[in-house]
């Protein structure tokens, strides 16, 4: 059995037939081919699959694709506009906010929500906002710096 869903992803509308138990993360990766959304654990532990659903940062492995019917989604692939990186992408790039880069898309999407809510966060606020996202490589210092840089440049 499959279910028809309509979603907007990175500004483009899609109508797709999906299995009812298909995870949103797998829908993005396997159906739409948006493999920038990474899966590190499938139990909402790591945050690598974080995307924006109707303006909120959500771990896309905790949602079924059918639950996103009618929703407006932004993934890491949709963050840059007109060929220019988003300030957060710039920040992570310039401030060496990644080593292996696997957690990076999720980190950026979680940070995106923080900056939406709080354009000028303190370091403590940045660390708090990213507490749902694991990075095993960096020790987080350069990630905090990257978000700080993005906040500064957006201001």
């Amino acid at each position: 059995m499959s279910v028809s869903i309509n979603v907007t992803v990175n500004g483009r509308g899609y109508q797709e037939e999906v299995e009812p138990r298909l995870l949103l993360a797998d829908f993005l990766r396997d159906v739409l081919g948006l493999t920038g959304t990474h899966v590190g654990c499938d139990t909402s532990g790591c945050g690598a699959c974080t995307i924006i659903v109707d303006g909120k940062a959500v771990k896309s492995c905790t949602l079924l694709a059918v639950q996103a019917d009618g929703a407006d989604l932004t993934t890491i692939e949709g963050l840059a506009s007109n060929g220019a990186l988003h300030p957060l992408q710039e920040g992570f790039h310039e401030e060496h906010g990644l080593q292996c880069g696997f957690c990076t898309p999720g980190m950026i999407m979680a940070a995106w929500q923080l900056l939406e809510r709080n354009p000028n966060p303190s370091d403590a606020e940045i660390r708090h906002a990213l507490e749902g996202n694991f990075c095993r490589c960096t020790g987080y210092e350069n990630i905090v710096k990257s978000v700080r840089a993005a906040a500064g440049s957006a201001a």
Binding site: G45, E77, H93, C100, G101, G139, E141
Partner: protein, 747 residues
């Protein structure tokens, strides 16, 4: 060899942005699970629910009959004659299950869902056997895992779980203790832990009727993956073109094969590409975590601060099969110090857990935990500054290490001096806070490296190497070439070649990548510069000796041809067909003379006296890099290693239930540090150049995880008066220690 002490560099030591950065911040970079081929099947593995069992029979008929299932395989489908029985059984069990999670069958199906359904239809009849998941109990041998195993191959001995032992001996230990004013002895325990890379293991395999295989894989070394996979399948390595995906962390855990031989076997059986991706639970229970340990350490010292003797036994888990790692722990136990009298014995212990693999400076943190906390206690007893004590005993050039070599120029003393001079060491502490300091050693390795350079038509330069880039090594490698050619790092295209595109390269392990690759690039760049001068001389019809290479161009130095305009890489590429053909150079080397690295860490903790929760409030890493090629990436290695060490010290560990089943096989229960758990980790990049490397590089990746266990433990002791000899120092253990301490002191 360049005089690395006085060399000045334009590019090395700076902080350029990485070449692969845009792909990684836009989601375009392809990791192991991101490949999709037409007609691709999805492979899944059935894993043993039992920690120890014999397989009486496996019935796969119902699974094979399910619509959408293309192949079902068990151990019987693999060649019985393989180079490694251990690897064979880790890939697919051949009858004797030794850990929960061991693969017993696999399925390839048209969708992951059908593959999962098929796994449920496989009937395995197990004879469940007694198991052991505690290293000390296993060493006692009440439950025997392999009835054939005899310690050190001694056929006259009874069966044992201790596969092998080793001893480092020197001086007169008894006399050493007799000369000591203070002697302390403890037993230390460390839990089994996981490397915790965020990307689960993943690969895609494609097989052809000509016997040639394409394998896309996320690993720390695709040449090694190729060779190990070929061995397990009984095919020639040259038949498996192995293509490196971007790798989402490894830390030693992605140096071997789990899924790859299974995927290829099922691709061969079905004629379709097969993709396999582990779940996080599978990563925990059936990849290669890092050994837990039980260590007894006795150390003596004089009241003026000289270590007089060390006597130690180290029991390390090797996991389900005899492994190669135990000696590394023995090496690291006393390596930062000059000690005359020691007896160090290591025991490699089988246990019903996955086969243990390296994790960043493998086994060293466990050993340093014991040594560096006992030193802390000795300092307290004799009333000596903890860094002064270490300075007094520090290994230097000429010190003979317990594991054999006499040290070349090393930087142990310099890291101690850097720590002592750091404001952190003398900063005031708040209430319920304590400070710890500890040092760590790691040997570093080198190995095979090939670098291939081509000048492109527009004057940019392609650089192909073959060790997977885990933390920015492509950028560091491009910096080396940019330095030599006198061009910008942005004018270089660095890439990691597949096994058919570039010559042999070792694994990105042992802090070897920047070290070995930069040696190969250096050599290739020297060849290329020589060639470029030759080509320019041809253009100018001058002698090569009249041509110098500087700032990315050939310059003619006077002579009868005058001093023409400099010829750039683009100019020379444009005329290359007339001067001898495409411009390029290659070097294939074995990088020897890797030099040990030392580090000294300082940590402040604040301990909640009512809950036992420990917060790290300040942390500083002082580590000798030899030479930092890319400053930010070196600092990043220090910070990342320290963060992992802090997680190990305070939270991480495998918990097994009475059935030998891991209870916390997920990120919610196996708690690694998040940003909120850590303070800013300050770094001091000490540079004592390695005299045998063209740029002085030592290797930086691993050392930073060695000291944190002891550093944090010493800080907790300083804050609470409680000496815990166990990691993780979880809140329950810390609280129990505080309550016991209070009861003993009548408060």
């Amino acid at each position: 060899m360049i005089d690395t002490k006085t060399a000045t560099y334009k590019v090395l030591g700076t902080r350029p942005v990485r070449h692969d950065g845009v792909d990684k911040v836009t989601g375009r970079a392809n990791y192991g699970a991101d490949f999709h081929l037409p007609g691709m099947l999805h492979g899944k593995v059935l894993r043993s629910p039992h920690a120890h069992a014999r397989i009486r029979s496996i019935d796969t008929s119902a699974a094979a009959a399910l619509d959408g299932v293309f192949a079902v395989v068990t151990g019987d489908d693999f060649p019985s004659d393989t180079p490694s029985e251990v690897s064979a059984n880790v890939v697919m069990c051949r009858g004797h299950v030794r850990y929960q999670g061991q693969p017993v069958a696999a399925v390839a199906a048209s969708t992951p869902t059908i593959a999962d359904q098929a796994l449920e239809l496989i009937e395995v009849d197990y004879e469940v056997l007694p198991h052991v998941t505690d290293v000390w109990e296993s060493a006692q041998g009440k439950v025997i895992i392999d009835p054939e195993l005899r310690t050190d191959g001694d056929e006259s001995a009874p069966p044992s779980n201790i596969s092998n032992t080793n001893v480092f001996d020197a001086g007169d230990v008894e006399a050493g203790f007799a000369a000591a004013d203070v002697i302390i002895e403890h037993e230390y325990d460390s839990a089994t832990i996981h490397q915790g890379y965020i990307e689960p293991h993943a690969c895609v395999a494609r097989w052809g009727e000509d016997g040639n295989v394409l394998l896309w894989v996320s690993s720390q070394g695709h040449f090694a993956i190729r060779d190990l996979t070929a061995g397990q399948l009984g095919i020639a390595p040259s038949r498996i073109k192995t293509i490196p995906a971007e790798i989402g962390g490894g830390f030693g855990g992605k140096t071997t094969v789990f899924l790859e031989p299974v995927a290829i076997l099922m691709a061969a059986k079905t004629g379709r590409p097969v993709k396999m991706v582990m779940t996080r639970e599978e990563v925990f229970i059936s990849s290669g975590p890092a050994p837990g340990s039980h260590i007894r350490l006795k150390m003596g010292a004089t009241k003026d601060g000289r270590i007089t003797a060390v006597d130690a036994d180290l029991w390390y888990e090797s996991g389900s099969y005899p492994g190669p790692l135990m000696g590394l722990g023995m090496m690291c136990l006393t390596a930062p110090y000059e000690i005359e009298n020691y007896h160090i014995k290591g025991y490699n212990v089988l246990i019903n857990k996955p086969f243990m693999r390296p994790y960043r400076a493998p086994l060293a943190p466990n050993a340093a935990h014991a040594t560096e906390t006992i030193i802390d206690e000795i300092c307290e007893q004799i009333g000596m500054d903890k860094i002064d004590f270490r300075l007094k005993n520090a290994a230097k050039e000429g010190t003979k290490a317990a594991y054999g070599p006499v040290y070349p120029r090393i930087g142990m003393v310099e890291t101690l001096q850097a720590a002592k001079a750091h404001p952190h060491y003398s900063a005031p502490l708040g209430p319920n806070q304590g400070r710890g300091v500890a040092s760590g050693f790691w040997m570093n390795i080198g190995g095979d490296a090939t670098a291939n350079i081509s000048v492109l038509p527009d004057g940019r330069v392609s650089l192909i190497t073959g060790r997977p880039d885990i933390g920015g090594s492509r950028a560091a490698q491009a910096m080396v070439l940019a330095e030599e050619l006198g061009i910008s790092v942005d004018e270089i295209n660095p890439s990691i070649g597949d096994t058919d595109t570039v010559g042999m390269n070792g694994i990105s392990e042992g802090s070897s990548t920047a070290y070995a690759s930069s040696m190969a690039i250096h050599e290739a760049a020297m060849k290329l510069k020589d060639e470029l001068r030759d080509r320019a001389a041809q253009v100018w019809e001058a002698d090569k000796e009249q041509v110098t290479w500087k700032d990315g161009a050939a310059h003619l130095n006077g002579g009868s041809n005058g001093s023409g305009e400099p010829l750039s890489l683009r100019d020379l590429a444009g005329s290359s067909s007339q001067t001898g053909g495409p411009l390029g150079a290659e070097a294939a080397i074995n990088a020897r003379f890797a030099a040990p690295a030392f580090g000294t860490h300082i940590c402040d903790v604040e301990v909640d006296q009512e809950t036992g929760k420990v917060d790290v409030v300040r942390y500083t890493v002082c580590q000798d890099a030899g030479r930092a090629l890319h400053k930010s990436y070196v600092e990043g290695q220090y910070q990342g290693g320290a963060a992992q060490g802090i997680g190990w010290a305070l939270n991480e560990g495998y918990y097994y239930n009475e059935q030998g089943v891991m209870e916390n096989a997920g990120f919610l229960d196996y708690r690694m540090p998040v940003a909120l758990d850590l303070p800013m980790i300050d770094t001091v990049v000490v540079e004592v150049p390695n005299p045998k490397h063209p740029y002085g590089v030592r290797g930086v990746g691993e050392n930073a995880i060695v000291a944190p266990l002891a550093t944090v433990a010493n800080a907790v002791a300083n804050a609470t008066g409680v000496r815990l000899c166990q990691v993780p120092m979880s809140p329950d253990r810390v609280l129990e220690g505080i309550l016991t301490h209070k009861a003993a002191n009548g408060s």
